[in-house]
């Protein structure tokens, strides 16, 4: 009977395509919105994932998330270095500064000042130039996206057509000269500001003077050091909080999840997607079963067992679920591949298709269960009632 069940399903083409599109649209809404949500959330801690070198990120205890800068005293680096189990510790500057372009345009940018000696916490990928070029005078490295967009030279000094910012161009940070020595690829920030890497000492020259300039301390553990014990000792001896990259990511992520309206906004769209599926596909499948109830009834009268009839309904529901889900995920994936990441945060993690599949399974199981219940309750003698 499986082939007959499928022929019943595919044969009712209007309803079949309706169910298929309903489920596909539901999957699309759920997975696309979830992927954008994850993409946006990833940007909130993008710098942490871009910086794999430190074992520990040491911050002020009142700092709530990555960009919630609570600068530390410069002695914090030395104090951390003195703790047993710490192999190395370097300062990091991270802050927003105004960049002046040669054509007079001004652009708020995120400046990341990395340790002058070790260059730890540099950009993850260099597209032009080398990280060590930061040791040249006034050197900065600019992220590729910004070089094409915010830092695009509309009136290049040499004249001619507008062009992207490139190695050798001169910018101004806080009225100080900055020369582009490299182009890198870095994860876009949540607020989409351009990212500029330079050395810690140069970043603190660019930034307006403050008593506390160290945004955070990055540290590496000695071989065999007890990470938990080191974190505890840092807290006891310095009063600072230390987190692993994973913990700091989670702290940042949890802040955005709990303290902002973003999850509710995206959650609403995702729930809406689920209800679209229930309303369109679920309802259509239920109507499909209702329309076929007389045939199920006739088969029941002829001697079809409950197992056979339920198997038919289950096969029909699971077939439309698999096809609708597949179509929806395919459209979502095409959307993700087509729309540039710099314009839309889109990150399809393996969990998202699972969540969408779970929603589709719930929709189809619920509608199939109601359909099955009708089939089970069906009195075979009803077929004589016309």
């Amino acid at each position: 009977m499986p082939i007959f069940a499928l022929k019943m399903l595919f044969g009712d083409s209007a309803r079949f395509y309706g169910m298929l599109l309903g489920l596909a649209f539901s999957t699309l809404l759920i997975s696309q919105q979830a992927a954008i949500f994850v993409g946006l959330m990833s940007r909130t801690f993008g710098f942490i994932t871009d910086t794999p070198q430190p074992d520990l990120w040491i911050i002020d205890p009142s700092q709530r998330f990555l960009d919630d800068n609570k600068p530390l005293r410069s002695t914090a680096v030395q104090r951390v270095r003195s703790i047993e189990g710490i192999e190395w510790a370097v300062p990091l500057f991270k802050g927003l500064l105004v960049v002046n372009l040669p054509d007079g345009k001004r652009q708020v940018s995120q400046i990341i000042g990395i340790d002058d000696a070790s260059l730890i916490a540099g950009p993850p990928f260099m597209l032009e130039g080398a990280l060590t070029d930061l040791r040249k005078p006034d050197a900065i490295i600019v992220d590729e996206r910004a070089s094409r967009r915010e830092f695009k030279m509309n009136k290049p000094p040499e004249g001619g057509e507008p062009r992207p910012l490139r190695v050798g161009d001169i910018l101004e940070l806080n009225e100080l000269r900055a020369e582009v020595v490299g182009i890198c690829k870095a994860t876009q920030t949540f607020q989409s500001q351009p990212v500029i890497y330079t050395t810690y000492s140069r970043a603190t020259q660019y930034a307006p003077p403050e008593r506390r300039m160290v945004t955070m301390v990055l540290a590496g553990l000695s071989k065999g050091a007890d990470q938990a014990q080191v974190i505890k000792t840092i807290a006891e001896r310095t009063g600072l909080s230390a987190f692993t990259g994973e913990q700091f990511t989670e702290k940042t992520y949890v802040y955005w999840m709990l303290e902002t309206g973003i999850p509710i906004n995206f959650g609403t769209a995702i729930v809406l997607g689920f209800f679209v599926g229930v309303a369109v596909a679920g309802q259509m499948f239920y109507n499909f079963v209702l329309d076929n109830l007389k045939y199920f009834g006739a088969m029941k009268a002829m001697g079809a067992s409950r197992k056979i009839l339920l198997g038919m309904v289950f096969l029909q529901a699971s077939t439309v679920a698999v096809l609708g889900f597949g179509l929806g995920i395919a459209v979502t994936s095409i959307f993700g591949l087509t729309v540039p990441n710099e314009k839309l945060a889109f990150r399809m993690t393996w969990q998202i298709p699972l969540i969408a599949a779970g929603a589709v399974i719930i929709i189809c199981t619920a509608s199939a269960a109601i359909g099955m219940w009708r089939v089970l309750r069906l009195d075979p003698a009803d077929v004589f009632k016309g």
Binding site: M1, G11, M299, K300, A301, M302, G303, A381
Partner: protein, 242 residues
């Protein structure tokens, strides 16, 4: 038309009662109906609406449980069987022809006719092959791959007859098989039922309001108010009504 009757009794019902309970209301459908159907005969169950015909054939076919009385169909009381066993018994023993045909429009004629065989476990190819033979027998040879929606009402009922007979049931139960058809088509369909249904060892029970087909029966059982009122032959009925 010569009836091939045998002394064997296909259905023996005595004192069958059926009460439908709806809230506080009890509706008595059968009040001690008695009936014997012989193997090889075509028996027509007639009577006014609400007289209990449909309830009676539903109980005989094992679709409905009786509240009282005795029933034996081909030596078996269907009510004595479990639900699963009764379903299997129905599949082996009873063929159905419904008033509204109940052909699945998205299946071909051969596939519709093959359903009982597939339910019995036969593979689809063999079942459809056997269904083709019986479709040919009911005059629809060459149209096995057609869709039921392309057929006239009479042709659809022929497919339904083929479906009812494809697994050679012992009892053929037909519920108003001609009521959805025009007079001439209805007569042809009933002639087909009489032709292919009348077999040694098989009984045919037809519920009908259509007095134009009564002459095709061996016996006519008239029901009234939940009981068998009288049993007559078509010839006797003709004499009574002249």
């Amino acid at each position: 038309m010569t009836p091939i009757t045998t002394p064997e009794i296909a259905v023996r019902a005595s004192g069958v009662e059926k009460i439908y309970v709806s809230g506080d209301t009890n509706v008595v459908a059968l009040r001690g109906a008695d009936l014997e159907v012989r193997c090889g005969e075509i028996l027509m169950l007639v009577g006014p609406s609400g007289c209990g015909k449909t309830s009676f054939i539903s109980i005989i076919a094992g679709l409905l449980k009786r509240d009282a009385g005795q029933l034996e169909v081909m030596g078996q009381d269907p009510q004595a069987l479990s639900t699963e066993a009764r379903t299997a018994w129905r599949l082996r023993t009873v063929g159905f022809v419904f008033q509204q045909f109940n052909l699945i429009p998205t299946l071909t004629l051969a596939e519709n006719a093959a359903i009982p065989l597939i339910l019995q476990g036969m593979d689809r190819r063999s079942a459809c092959e056997k269904a083709r033979e019986i479709l040919n027998y009911v005059g629809l040879g060459g149209r096995e791959q057609s869709s039921p929606v392309r057929l006239s009402g009479g042709q659809q009922q022929r497919v339904a007859i083929a479906r009812a007979l494809v697994n050679s049931p012992k009892i053929l139960v037909c519920d108003e098989p001609t009521s959805a058809l025009d007079g001439a088509t209805g007569l042809h369909v009933m002639e087909l039922i009489a032709q292919v249904g009348r077999m040694p060892g098989r009984a045919v029970i037809v519920v009908s309001h259509d007095d134009r087909i009564y002459h095709l029966a061996d016996r006519i059982v008239r029901m009234d108010d939940g009981r068998v009122d009288r049993i007559e032959t078509p010839a006797a009925r003709r004499n009574t009504h002249v």
